[in-house]
């Protein structure tokens, strides 16, 4: 599949398959197309050539209403994008109540149990600006999960966090992996990617240059581009 903004190609032929319960990590420099790929999968962007399938069903048929498809996927943003005028619990239940038409009491119950799991039940009445970045991102993950999505798309969910807050968010994702949640994770956290992902894809200028199981890709990258990128990232870490 390909995608351009105006004449600027961003994704130049992505071919990717994600199995049920799999976690795929997308790595690559900023601007390599990771975020765009996730936005395309959630149908927030229209792709140019190719197709995307969800549970064997083509979701990129021209003219198809994207709204019911988006309800089957969860997307978490780099900058959280919580709704600042709603309390934590209102943020979490909005999708369930308005998009899925779940009865409010059921949604509330489900929202609270998710917040409890993420250690945020006591913050449910607070507004997002009272929360730390790590807490906000955990709320955002709860918000994406409340509608029971088939797959979760995570767009650099720790990139906007202070280093000491990264761990709490990664712990949440680790837990989801153990439960068998299907995930596509765009990330800069190489250690985390190698720990959680079943498959790591390295993107450079809109292409998947190399993909493979984490041990193989991180310890013995086959392509020169991948070697260069990993060398750069790992030396930057010191």
């Amino acid at each position: 599949m390909t995608k351009s903004y105006d004449a600027q190609p961003v994704l130049k032929g992505i071919d990717l398959q994600v199995g049920e319960h799999e976690a795929i990590a997308l790595i690559g420099a900023s601007g390599s197309g990771k975020s765009t790929l996730l936005r395309c999968i959630d149908l927030l962007e229209e792709i140019d050539d190719g197709d995307i399938y969800l549970d064997g069903e083509c979701i990129t048929v021209p003219g198809l209403n994207p709204v019911p498809i988006r309800r089957r996927l969860g997307l978490v943003f780099q900058s959280f994008n919580l709704f600042p005028h709603m309390s934590v619990i209102e943020n979490v239940v909005l999708g369930a109540v308005k998009a899925q038409r779940m009865p409010r009491s059921d949604a509330q119950e489900r929202g609270i149990s998710l917040l409890e799991r993420f250690g945020l039940a006591d913050r449910r009445a607070d507004y997002p600006d009272k929360l730390s970045g790590g807490q906000q991102q955990r709320v955002a993950i709860a918000r994406a999960l409340v509608t029971n999505p088939r797959a979760l798309l995570l767009d650099e969910v720790t990139s906007a966090l202070d280093p000491e807050l990264v761990g709490e968010v990664l712990a949440v994702i680790r837990g989801l992996k153990q439960e068998g949640m299907t995930m596509i994770i765009a990330t800069h956290e190489m250690t985390f990617a190698s720990e959680v992902a079943d498959l790591v894809c390295f993107l450079e200028s809109g292409r998947i240059v190399e993909s493979g199981p984490p041990q193989q890709l991180f310890s013995a990258p086959a392509r020169a581009e991948t070697q260069r990128f990993l060398a750069r990232v790992l030396t930057a870490r010191g």
């Binding site: 709704f83 600042p84 998009a99």
Partner: protein
């Protein structure tokens, strides 16, 4: 590289008491200066007016206590019409203004003609003086002799004001809607909300909060412009004052009307200031000005 400026440290470290003393010296000095300056400016202005050659005559025609007391009740009952008109028009303006803003924001093909009309309407109403619209509606609509269309001057005047102010207010709402970052809409859509739901539950509530201060500003100005309805004849405060002045050649009732307007507009202004200051604090912007 320039040489570092040699610092000569005080023999003893400066104490908290010394800093507090310096602060209170500074505070006392600024109090004294502002006191003197106020007396000079206000006193000067008062002397200038009170010693002017026409002052005794002006005092008699504009500040007559007897004219004030005898006209006050009719001006006040006129002002009650102003307040009623203001309250009704304000509610209409809020609803119509938001609707127009929504029509201009939503890209639905079926609404295309409505959107075109909305653009023309806003352009025209913002470009024509309010007093002209009041005239045209107030005298034009009854001339059409339509059945079922009200011809009361107060109703038509109110309608004319609503037409003008809805145009202004729709632009305020639209600015608010467009100021909400697109990532908020994306977050709403990603949850599976429809475009309309994202607008209704995510964008508009944030937009309305943001534009509350400028909206109130428009309402202060609406509260004053209600006086324009007087040209159609209904006896609101300004009209009542004019009638009184015309029969007695004393303009004190106009001052009474002005005071009544101020009784409403000044508190409204203070509320706006307060809201703006709070909005500023929330964005952390006031800090820069809070430094002495």
């Amino acid at each position: 590289m320039s040489q570092p400026i040699p610092l000569s440290p005080p023999a003893q470290p400066t104490t908290r008491a010394q800093r507090a003393a310096a602060r209170s010296r500074r505070r006392r000095r600024s109090l004294v200066v502002s006191g003197i300056s106020t007396v000079v400016v206000i006193g000067g202005l008062a002397t200038f007016i009170l010693t002017s050659p026409g002052w005794p005559a002006v005092k008699q025609t504009f500040f007559s206590v007897s004219a004030f007391t005898s006209s006050f009740s009719s001006v006040l009952s006129g002002f009650w019409l102003d307040v009623k008109l203001f309250l009704i028009v304000e509610v209409v303006v809020l609803i119509v203004g938001l609707l127009i803003a929504l029509v201009r924001t939503v890209r639905v093909p079926a609404l295309f003609p409505v959107r075109m009309l909305a653009i023309v309407y806003v352009d025209v109403m913002r470009g024509v003086p309010t007093i002209l619209v009041v005239y045209l509606i107030g005298f034009g609509v009854p001339a059409l002799q339509l059945k079922g269309v009200p011809t009361g001057a107060a109703v038509l005047g109110g309608a004319a004001l609503a037409l003008c102010y809805s145009a202004y207010v729709s632009e305020v709402f639209r600015a608010g809607i467009e100021s909400v970052h697109p990532s908020q809409a994306a977050a709403g859509l990603a949850l599976g909300l429809t475009r309309w739901q994202a607008l209704r539950f995510v964008i508009v509530p944030q937009a309305v909060r943001r534009v509350a201060p400028p909206l109130l500003n428009d309402f202060i100005s609406l509260q004053k412009d209600v006086a324009l309805v007087s040209i159609l004849g209904p006896e609101e405060a300004f009209r009542a004052a004019q009638v009184f002045a015309a029969s007695t050649f004393n303009y004190t009732p106009l001052i009474a009307a002005a005071l009544l307007y101020l009784c409403v507009t000044i508190p409204l202004t203070r509320i706006v200031d307060h809201m703006q200051a709070r909005a500023m604090r929330e964005r952390g912007g006031a800090l820069a000005l809070g430094i002495r």
